[in-house]
Structures are given as C-alpha cells and as structure tokens.
C-alpha cells in the first residue's frame, strides 16, 4: 500500500514537472534555445495569482486567467526585448540573456513582493479521497494536476497538428529557413510560441504552488531545472516526451527517496538520467537526427 | 579475415600493403555485394566493384540514385547492412570513419565541409594530423620535437597547397574563399592524409568551364604525382568521360552499367535511365 502511495506522490509532483517541461520543450523545439528564465515566469505567474486572490479578492479560478494574461504579455515582452535581437546568432548567446532575464525576474519579484515567503492558498478546495480505510490518500491537487497536464498535452498536440499556426510552428522547428521560404513569418511564430509557453507557465505556477505552497522569488528556479531535466529525459522538443519525462522523473525521485536514500536522491535521479541518455542519446521519445553527409 | 585491429596494427599492415600495392597485386578498393537499408527502404544493393592502384574511376547516376550513400558506406559514415568493403585487403567492417581514413581512404564532400574558421593552411595541417609526429607532452611543453614537427608540417602543407595552386590563399580563412577554391582546398586536405585512394564527391560542382578544365588536369596530375587511385562522383559528363578510365552507373541504388567511357556512352540502359531522362528535361 505504501508503494501505491509513493507512486501517487511521485506522479503528482511529476505532473507538475510535466507541465513546466511542456513549456520548456515547446520553446526549445521551435526557438532552439534553452529558456532558463522559464522557471521564473512560473514564479511570476504564481505571484500574480496570489496577489489577485489575496489583495484584490478575485476568485481563485479567475486569478488563473489573470496570471495567464500577465504571463503571456510578459513572455512576449521578454522575447521581443531580450531574445529576438539575438535571433540567428549562437544559441549560447541567447542562453546567457535568458540567465540575465532569470536574475532580473527573481530580483524584481523580491523588490515587488518581498523576500518573505507567501503561503500559497491552494486553488483546489475539494477534500482528499481516502481509499482502503485511510491507507491511501489522494489529494485534490494530485487529481487536478494530473488531469490538467494531460489536457494541456492533448491540447498542445491537437494545436500543433491541426491548426494553421501550430503547423507553422512545426515547420519552423523542422527547418527554419525552409519555413521562411514557404512564406511563414518565423519571427511571429516564435513570438506566438513564447506567448503560449508563458501562458502555460502561469498554469504551471498555480498548480506548483497549490501542491507545494511556498511562494518566494526563487520558487521557480529549482523546479525549472528539474523540468528541463525532465524535458531532456523524455526527448527535448517532443510534447509527449515532456509529459512522460516529467512523470517518470517525479516517480524516480519519489522512489529513490522512499526506498534507496533520501540523502542521495538528487544523485540517484541524475544518475538514472545519465544512464537513460547513454542508452537512448536523444531521450525516451526524442528523434535521433542523423546529420546529413 | 580479422575484423578488429589496433591503430598501430592498422598502420603497420597498411604500410606493408602500400608496398604490395606498388607491385599492383592487391586492389586499393574491393567492394563485394554492398547494400544498406534505411528503415526497410533499400538505398543501395548489390554493389560490386574493384579499383586498382592509380586507377581513376567515376560513379554516375541520376539524382537520388544513391551515389553519396555509396561514398558514405565506403568511408564508414554508414555501416553497411550487407556485403563487405576491403581497403588494401582489409575489411573495414565496424571501423570508424577515422580508422578507415588511416587505412588510406580520403574524401571530399558534396556540400563542402571545410573548417571554415581556420585558414587554408590550417585546414591542410588538420589533414596531416596523423602524420605529424609529435607527442601531447611535447606540444604542451613546447619541447624541440614540437618545433621540428610544426616546421616540417608547414613546409609540406605549403607544398601541397602550391601543388593545387592555392599557395596565395594559405593565410585566408577557409570560409571566406570563393567556391571553386574551397573545392580545391578540400582536395588538398584529403591529399594531406596520405591516402591510397581519394573519393571526390562532385568536385566540379559550382565551377565555371575554365575552372572545370583546370580541375581535369589537376585530377590527372594528382594521380600521376602521388600514384594514388581516384574515385569520383560527377554530373559534368565532359569531365567524367575525359578523365575516368572506368565508369560505374547506378540508379535506384543498383549498378546498371559498368565499363569504359566508350562502353557507357553507348549503353542503352544508361541512355534510358540517365541520359535519356536528361534530354527530356
């Protein structure tokens, strides 16, 4: 029974990683950049939602939409100011500006909301489900998070395969130059991707903080790196891969804490990652791209 | 036939074989029933051919016929699904591209692959990598062997550049050289590895007629000077017919004709598959 409980715990945190990883992987797939500021956009999203509910008295569900709107605008601004001017140069240059943006968001958040952590009020009000006479407990957050991540994954999948702008995104991710020649506005497509990725980040922020209530300026950074790991784990650029990677990472982390060593769980998680990448160099669901000779 | 050799062994064997090859006993390249599938799709199948020392051969065929794939198989960029490749009598199965090169196969690329950030001279010196005899410690500590080796390398690299008429651009970044010059530089870099056969992938592509004419002379001169075999893919029929002694024609990954330029010109299968199609356009 404890095995099941750990499994559920793992899936729960894994689903949060998965949502963050979805944003990561989408931006990576299209813009080919590691957006290290993604985790901090999540933090901003959570703060917006928190402020809306606690200071303005907005209902919790509505606050998510406010957070999404703010984060979308933020994402577009960041992209336009810090990333767009570097389009076409080394991806490392963009990586560094992303780090700069990350520092900026963290410190700006500290100036606005202060360093003292806020305890995020969960948006989920339903009571936890208790099974097997209390042996197994599934909280409302777990269910919401899992459902939300699955819905987002499916929606993204549908979006990228069925809609015009989604198809444009895929075209840009396959071959930017060819897409440009086919009349696709690459710059606008990338901006749209950032907008969607940031909106996702807002949802991820709210769900992350519903599961893990501590909200402070650095809240996003560690889960951000974990989610990046998850995205690579599943095959970066792949939407189902991000989902699978996130959940597996959560489960592995939980099991290594529960059954191996809580002290060395970080090392164990990363060791598993390395082994997986050695066996499957492009991640679990990633495409192995053969360089054309 | 043994399949795995240490690097040292390969060198020893290849040296001995170079000697035998001088006697003209072993073909430089002996390809038997070569084939490769990409996920169920057969790209090359039943490819057989031998190339003797100092022979100039051509490989022609319509676009997408599998010519470059054959080059990639010969240089171990791809591992064949079937068949074997013997370079100077040694089976290259399972070897890396680098090892095959050390056995004596050098190549150029259809889409030029120079080290664009380096000068022409440095490009050639990279090609000479395995023949520069200077240890890691020597170069790290700048011991006398380093200076001696570098001096010799510079001298030989300049000679090679000069041979192809590129001495003037030795100090220019490879990326900023004109297209035709880049193609020739790639040949020099390949020559710098001391090969016994050199594979040229569309060496005349993008060259104007004058440059192509010059290239034809140079290809013959390379063979005569270095006494090596040359195997080339080319769409310029004038070049192929004038330079090559033997020609192989492929279509859909299979050989459809083989012979001297005269034979190929008159082969009905070739005319249909290749030249005929060309006329239609």
């Amino acid at each position: 029974m404890s095995f099941l409980q750990y499994l559920i715990n793992g899936i729960s945190i894994g689903a949060v990683y998965a949502i963050i990883a979805l944003g990561y992987t989408m931006v990576y797939g299209i813009a080919k950049m590691l957006n290290f500021a993604h985790g901090d956009v999540i933090m901003v999203g959570a703060y917006i939602s928190f402020s809306a509910t606690n200071y303005l008295g907005v209902p919790a569900v509505l606050s998510i939409f406010i957070a999404m709107a703010v984060c979308t605008i933020l994402g577009i601004i960041i992209e336009g100011l810090a990333y767009k001017p570097l389009r076409g140069t080394s991806s490392l240059a963009v990586l560094i500006t992303a780090i700069g943006v990350s520092y900026f968001l963290q410190n700006a958040a500290q100036l606005i909301w202060g360093a003292t952590p806020k305890n995020f009020t969960s948006i989920v009000t339903s009571a936890p489900i208790s099974l097997f006479g209390g042996q197994l407990t599934i909280t409302g957050e777990v269910i919401i998070t899992i459902v939300a991540s699955a819905v987002i994954m499916l929606a993204l999948h549908f979006f990228t395969t069925k809609t015009k702008i989604g198809k444009a995104m895929r075209a840009v991710s396959e071959d930017r130059d060819a897409a440009q020649l086919m009349g696709i506005n690459v710059n606008r497509t990338i901006s749209t991707t950032f907008a969607i990725g940031s909106a996702l980040a807002a949802i991820a922020g709210v769900l992350l903080c519903s599961t893990v209530p501590t909200l402070q300026p650095t809240t996003g950074s560690m889960p951000g790196i974990r989610a990046f790991t998850a995205a690579v784990f599943g095959g970066i650029g792949s939407i189902p891969g991000a989902m699978l990677g996130g959940i597996l990472l959560g489960v592995i982390e939980t099991f290594s804490k529960a059954y191996l060593s809580s002290q060395f769980s970080d090392a164990i998680v990363f060791l598993v990652l390395i082994i997986v990448l050695l066996v499957k160099p492009a991640g679990l669901l990633g495409k192995q791209v053969q360089e054309k000779v | 036939m043994a399949e795995k050799y240490s690097r040292e062994m390969v060198e020893v064997i290849s040296k001995n074989l170079h000697r035998q090859q001088d006697l003209g006993k072993v073909p430089v390249l002996d390809v038997r029933n070569l084939g490769i599938d990409f996920g169920g799709l057969t790209a090359v199948d039943g490819f057989n051919m031998t190339i003797g020392p100092t022979e100039i051969s051509g490989l022609i065929g319509p676009n997408g016929a599998g010519k470059t794939t054959i080059f990639n198989l010969l240089t171990s960029v791809y591992q064949p699904t079937r068949g074997s490749i013997l370079v100077n009598g040694i089976n290259t199965k399972g070897m890396t591209t680098a090892k095959v090169n050390r056995l004596g196969v050098a190549r150029t690329f259809q889409n030029i692959r120079l080290f664009t950030d380096m000068t022409a001279l440095e490009n050639v010196k990279v090609g000479m990598h395995n023949s520069i005899k200077c240890g890691f410690i020597s170069s790290l500590l700048r011991l006398p062997p380093y200076f001696k080796a570098e001096k010799e390398a510079n001298k030989r690299a300049m000679e090679l550049l000069d041979f192809m008429g590129l001495a003037d651009v030795a100090d220019t970044k490879a990326g900023s050289l004109p297209y035709g010059v880049q193609r020739r530089l790639e040949i020099v870099r390949a020559l710098a590895t001391n090969p016994s056969i050199i594979l040229l992938d569309e060496p005349a592509a993008g060259m104007n007629p004058t440059e192509t004419e010059e290239l034809m002379h140079q290809i013959r001169r390379i063979r005569d000077t270095f006494q090596i075999a040359i195997f080339l893919i080319e769409h310029d029929m004038n070049l192929v017919m004038n330079v090559c002694e033997g020609i192989v024609v492929v279509n859909y990954g299979r050989i459809i004709a083989k012979g001297t330029p005269e034979q190929i010109k008159n082969d009905p299968a070739v005319i249909e598959a290749y030249l005929g199609k060309k006329e239609e356009e």
């Binding site: 945190i13 995020f120 300026p217 | -």
Partner: protein
C-alpha cells in the same frame, strides 16, 4: 569587433578598479559619502547621529536569493534597534548592511567592503555557512563579531571574539530530545531534516545522539536537500507509514508550512515539534494558522508575547515592513541592544579602533547579563555561546501559549 569590445572592457576594468580604490579611500577619513546611503535606509535618527561620530556597525547577510527572507528580517530588526538607540541621544550607532547571497565567498567580499567603510563591530552574518567564513576573518582582524542567527558550532570556534545570541545547533537538538523525553510527548519519533543545510542537519545529529541517551525511539529519519525541498510529501508519508506519533522538524517555517499543509491534507495528525527556525509560521502570509494547531516548538521569541518590549517592537516592525517579525528579526534587535549595553558599560566611544573595541566587548560579554526580547538574563560563556533558556510554546487557538 571582438577586439574593440575587449579594449572597451579593459578600459572599463581599469576605471572600475581605480574607482573602487578611490571611492573607499576618500570615504574613510571623512565618512560621509557612504553615510548618506546608510542613513537613508536607517532614517532620520542616524542622520543626526552621523555628525556626532557614531560607532560603525556592519551587518552582512543574504539580502537577495533564496535565503533573503532571513537576511532582510535581520536587517529590518537591526535598523529599528539602531533608530531607537540613536533617538535616545547619548551613544550613537551607524549601521551599514551588505549582501552576502548566503555564500561564504560573497560574505568575505561583503565583510571586506564593510571593513573598508570603517566598520568597528560586526553584527552578523545571518546564516551559518557565511558566518563560519566571516568569523575566521573577524578573529584574525580583531573585530568583535556577534551573530544574531548563525547557530553552527563552527562559527564560535573560529575565535575568542566571536559570539552568538542564538542557541547553538547541538544545544537545540539536545534540549529538544530532553524536553520530549521529560514530558513524554511521544514514543515513536519521526524526523524530517534538510541534509544539505548546516543548521538542520546539525540539530538532527545531536537530537539523534541525545535521543539514544534518553531512550527515545526514532522510527524514521527522512532527509531532503535544498534542491528537492519543493516536494516534501514523501517524507511526511514515510513518517506516517512508520507510525510516528511525534515528528521532529528541525528546520525553517517555510518548509514546515509545507509539511503541515500536506499532513493535514492526508489526515496525518501526530504531534509536530519544531525548533527556533520554525518561528514565524503563524504569520506566513497565506498560511492557514489552524493547520499549526497543536504544533510545539522550542523558541526564545514569540511575537504574541504580552510583555511591553515585545509589543512595541512588533508594532514598529509592522509599521516599517507590514509584516509580523520572526525570531530572526528579534535576535537582530537583541544583537544591537546587547552591543549597546556592552558599549555603554565598557565606555566605548566612536573614536576607538576596532581592536580596542574588540577587547572591551569580549570582556563585557563574558561578564554581563542581558535582558532582551529573546530571553531574560542572557549570559555568555568564553566560547561565545549564549546561555539562555529555550522556551517551549504550543500553538493553541492560533497563538503561542508558553509551556514551562
């Protein structure tokens, strides 16, 4: 292009270096250019004081980054105390703060910048790892150091002039185990601790050692690290599965809030027992105080305390920052007053050198008794360790209720 940039950078570097030298040189004798900065932060009182010649106190702590909550609390607490003291007339203080990002290397840089400014007494750092590094410097330079909240043993071991106003970690671990055993609060003990944090693992180690001595059974000890502390559900689950009826939580309120929230969700209701870092949990913005009902902690400070001094401090702190002070702020407030008392009693004046002050302070601290917010009748041993009695409080109806 690259060269151009390199040259530009080189130029900036040269200018920066000379600016660095220049500014601190000019600052030292006249001591006013830097002062206005510090004074702005501390308010009007300090501004008047600056002219009269104030004793320069330096504080360094994490003002940015993940540990900024502790650094900023200490900074605010100290600023209030300095304002109050300066308003009294008499002995004047001038406080300058420097960010150490909770990093030993940056702490040394911060410390050096304070020394360049002319710091005479070190009132900091805040967290253990930077304090250990800075303590070594203070010992070597002969600058008196009194840390509000760095509770590691290594800190005071660095020298004879390093003092703490908070309990040492082992002290807390041992005291907690004793208290639990003495009052028979639990039979099966679960522990959750941060194995990457010096404070948390320091307490845990001593707790474990003492538990053996007093016969407490630890049924599970679950660790987390700074990198994975965003998810503590497993550790709680593990304690539940192990059937622990008392869970010892030697870490800060931030993580404790998570543990309590999750335990509540899964309906796990053991007795939770915390340390001084737990203080502040009731006032964490957004935290539902009913979840902390029945939580017990050993702490020297409670913001709900009825005494006048605490009330006035809490009120000022709230006016200044809008939030209720935690134990870090209270410790910081006490640090300034302890220094003030020692300075007054020892006859310290602003024109003394740091070394002279150091001697007086060491002498005073080892002999004086101090009453502060975080304890009455505090005395210090020669090692620098404070002796004050931890107070056990239990949260009932959303307020601290003292237990003996």
């Amino acid at each position: 292009m690259k060269k151009l940039f390199a040259l530009l950078m080189a130029a900036v570097m040269v200018i920066a270096m000379f600016a660095g030298c220049g500014s601190s040189e000019t600052q030292q004798p006249t001591a006013d250019s830097g002062e206005t900065q510090g004074a702005e932060a501390t308010g009007e009182a300090t501004e008047n004081a600056a002219a009269a010649g104030a004793i320069k106190l330096g504080m360094c702590g994490p003002l940015t980054g993940g540990a900024a909550v502790y650094g900023t609390a200490v900074k605010e607490g100290m600023e209030i105390a300095v304002e109050e003291i300066n308003a009294l007339g008499g002995l004047q203080f001038e406080l300058k703060t420097a960010d150490d990002e909770h990093n030993a290397e940056k702490a040394i840089n911060a410390y050096n910048s304070l020394v360049d400014w002319g710091m005479q007494i070190m009132a900091g750092p805040v967290t253990t790892a930077p304090s250990t590094a800075v303590a070594g410097e203070c010992a070597a330079d002969g600058i008196f150091m009194l840390t509000p909240s760095a509770s590691g043993v290594d800190v005071i071991e660095a020298g004879d002039n390093i003092f703490q106003i908070c309990f040492t970690d082992p002290n807390q671990g041992t005291a907690s185990a004793d208290y639990i055993a003495e009052h028979k609060l639990g039979t099966k003990i679960g522990v959750i601790y941060d194995s990457s944090d010096a404070y948390s693992s320091g307490i845990y180690e001593k707790f474990k050692a003492q538990a053996e001595v007093v016969g407490l059974e630890i049924v599970c000890a679950e660790a987390f690290t700074a990198d994975n502390k965003s998810d503590l559900t497993n550790q709680v689950t593990a304690c539940q599965k192990a059937g622990a009826d008392l869970v010892f939580l030697p870490f800060y309120a931030v993580e404790a809030a998570q543990v309590l929230t999750y335990a509540n969700k899964i309906g796990y209701e053991p007795l939770f027992f915390g340390c001084d870092g737990m203080d502040g949990i009731l006032t964490t913005e957004g935290f539902d105080p009913t979840l902390a009902e029945g939580l017990m902690l050993l702490t020297p400070f409670s913001a709900d305390s009825e005494d006048e001094k605490t009330q006035s401090f809490v009120k000022k702190y709230q006016e200044k920052t809008g939030i209720v002070p935690n134990q870090f702020a209270a410790d910081a407030y006490d640090v300034i007053y302890a220094i003030y008392q020692a300075c007054v009693d020892g006859g310290v004046t602003a024109d003394m050198t740091a070394e002279e002050i150091n001697e007086i302070m060491v002498e005073q601290f080892t002999s004086m008794t101090f009453d502060g917010l975080t304890g009455a009748g505090m005395t210090w041993m020669e090692t620098g360790e404070v002796s004050k009695s931890p107070m056990a409080v239990v949260i009932e109806n959303g307020v601290y209720v003292g237990k003996e």
